[in-house]
Amino acid sequence: MIAIDELRFAYPGGRFELAVDELRVATGSSLALCGPSGCGKTTLLHLVAGLLPMQAGSLRVGERELRGLSEGRRRTYRRNEVGLVFQNARLVDYLSVRDNILVVEHCAGFVRPLAEPLQRCVALAERLGIDHLLHQRSDRISQGEAQRVAIARALLLEPPLLLADEPTASLDDASAAATIDLLVATARDLGTTLVVATHDPRSRDACDARFTLPSPLLAPHA
């Protein structure tokens, strides 16, 4: 599903350089992306998501080579093929839980028919155990619940790839465990390839495989 070769990335003006010589993630499997803080887990995730442009090397998701894609195309790719879960749920505070899950559909036009996406939304909510929250204001639910809403939002368009960036970091232990189990189980059930950037041991253990990034390499020049 994901094939990375000789990837190099540095932020302009930054001293940090990310280097991944080779990484393969099989379709439908889950991978825990590990490593100490600042080692580039999030950067790698963002490269895979197409949030950052490729600089050197090769990164293929399915048959698509991300290197050289324009920002617009990366956006389309992201919308159609990638689901994203952030460290904080980052829900839209003025929308209900349901509308947060549906937000990408909402944003597809000024006026959109929602009957079919709504079915998917309800199904996802049931699967994630948040169907009783659909009409709640999104700023009135717990962080654990919010994170499950974020997972539902990421999965609404049934992307082949789900990327989660420290999804349990801001949760207490109990809900962190529940959330990571739910995330991995749901991805598995849907046949979605899952990459979780994490330094939480429980998350590492829950995933099929693990890839550890080395401590940050500092480039010789600032």
């Binding site: 998501a49 949030l51 956006r75 389309t76 992201r78 919308r79 159609n80 990638v82 689901g83 994203l84 952030f86 980052r90 839209v92 505070d93 003025y94 929308l95 509308d99 549906l102 937000v103 990408v104 559909e105 909402h106 944003c107 597809a108 036009g109 000024f110 006026v111 959109r112 028919p113 929602l114 009957a115 709504l118 939002r153 990421a154």
Partner: protein, 389 residues
């Protein structure tokens, strides 16, 4: 819910921040509405007073301020303190083919002007009774539509004229007036007035009454000279009507003004010519001409309001841009999230633009609503304001 979309999100955002939304809509509404309201109101006022002035060919009043005479006689302000005797009017119109309508605007009833006149006034102003009938005898009155509505009175009720104030030598009594009718609304100051026969007004002046022996001199000028021992509260009714009589020379009885409707322009010129003599007690004004002064004030108000509102509009625009920028900063995370999960740049822009479009539209709608409301009430408010100055 079967449909959604960017507009749905925009509305949801506006609804969630409803206080902010309300303030912004109100701000836009007021700033956009103010010039519309003033223009509409002043235009309506101008045409209303012009119409009333046009329907009042000539006004005869005591010498003195033209604008005061105009406002007192056209807008029925009972505050004037200068009057002219009946004969000043009769002499001016003697032998002239003209209808003359007396206006005795001096007393009040429950704060509303009490206008002593004759049936010709109602005909001239196109006033008819929505309920009951015109005054029949001394002590009768008809009330304007608004007076009736506000006081909750109708035909067969009665009102008491307001005592003239602390200097009232009568000792704080009013005269009881029988309401014989309620005038149909006319959207003019007539709605806010009470009308009686001019003779009834003279009764309230203390010139006519049901008492036998008191000698009262006619009053026009400063001090009401009414007999002190009159049981004036009793009013006038069928039983004592026959005992009523007037003291003094009726040609000396006071009027605030008289409306003259000449049969032709040349007849009007005769009347006006007679009153050009500086020694004559009265003056004749042509309301349409005298109105120019007033309209001048109106134009000046309009100019000031326009200037203020344009300054206000600039400031508001700057303020709105600032608020918009601040709101965008507050929403940076939200917008970044949307971008991250693949929402197109155009859609995000569409969301922001939609929100502001709705805000501005709502503001525009409230400006329009204000303008429509001002059509209904603006002129009345303005008239009340002008009448109170």
């Amino acid at each position: 819910m079967k449909t959604g979309g960017i507009w749905y999100l925009a509305v949801a955002s506006l609804r969630r921040h409803r206080v902010r939304t309300a303030i912004l809509v109100a701000t836009v509404g007021v700033v956009a509405g103010l010039p519309l309201v003033t223009d509409a109101t002043l235009a309506a006022y101008t045409s209303a007073i012009t119409a009333r002035a046009r329907a009042t060919p000539i006004l005869i009043g005591p010498r003195g301020g033209e604008t005061d005479l105009l406002l007192d006689a056209l807008y029925l302000r009972p505050d004037g303190r200068s009057f002219l005797p009946v004969n000043a009017v009769t002499e001016a119109v003697e032998g002239v083919d003209a209808e003359t309508i007396p206006l005795h605007v001096r007393h009040r009833v429950a704060g509303y002007p009490l206008v002593g006149t004759d049936l010709g006034y109602f005909r001239l102003r196109g006033l008819r009774c929505a309920e009951g009938h015109m005054p029949l005898r001394l002590g009768d009155c008809v009330v304007g539509a608004e007076v009736a509505a506000r006081m909750g009175v109708g035909a067969k009720d009665s009102l008491v004229s307001d005592p003239e104030g602390v200097l009232d030598v009568v000792g704080g009594f009013g005269t009881r007036l029988r309401i014989t009718g309620v005038l149909a609304a006319s959207a003019t100051p007539d709605d806010q007035a009470v009308f009686c026969d001019v003779k009834t007004a003279w009764v309230i002046d203390g010139i006519g009454h049901g008492h036998e022996d008191v000698d009262a001199s006619p009053v026009y000028g400063d001090v009401p000279a009414a007999p002190v021992d009159l049981p004036r509260m009793a009013g006038v009714d069928e039983a004592n009507l026959g005992r009523f009589h007037f003291h003094g020379d009726p040609s000396e009885f006071p009027l605030r003004a008289a409306i003259v409707v000449p049969a032709s322009a040349s007849e009007g010129l005769i009347v006006r010519g007679r009153l050009t003599d500086p020694d004559s007690m009265g003056q004749a004004i042509v309301p349409v001409q005298a109105l120019d002064q007033l309209l001048d004030i109106v134009m000046r108000i309009q100019g000031i309001v326009r200037m203020l509102t344009s300054v206000l509009a600039v400031l508001t625009t700057v303020l709105l841009v600032l608020i918009g920028a601040l709101a965008l900063r507050l929403r940076r995370v939200e917008l970044a999230t949307l971008a991250a999960i693949g929402v197109r740049r155009g859609a995000i822009l569409g969301l922001i633009v939609s929100e502001w479009t709705f805000l501005l539209l709502a503001g525009g709608a409230s400006a329009l609503a204000l303008t429509l409301a001002s059509r209904r009430w603006g002129v009345q408010l303005l008239e009340r304001f002008i009448a109170s100055t």
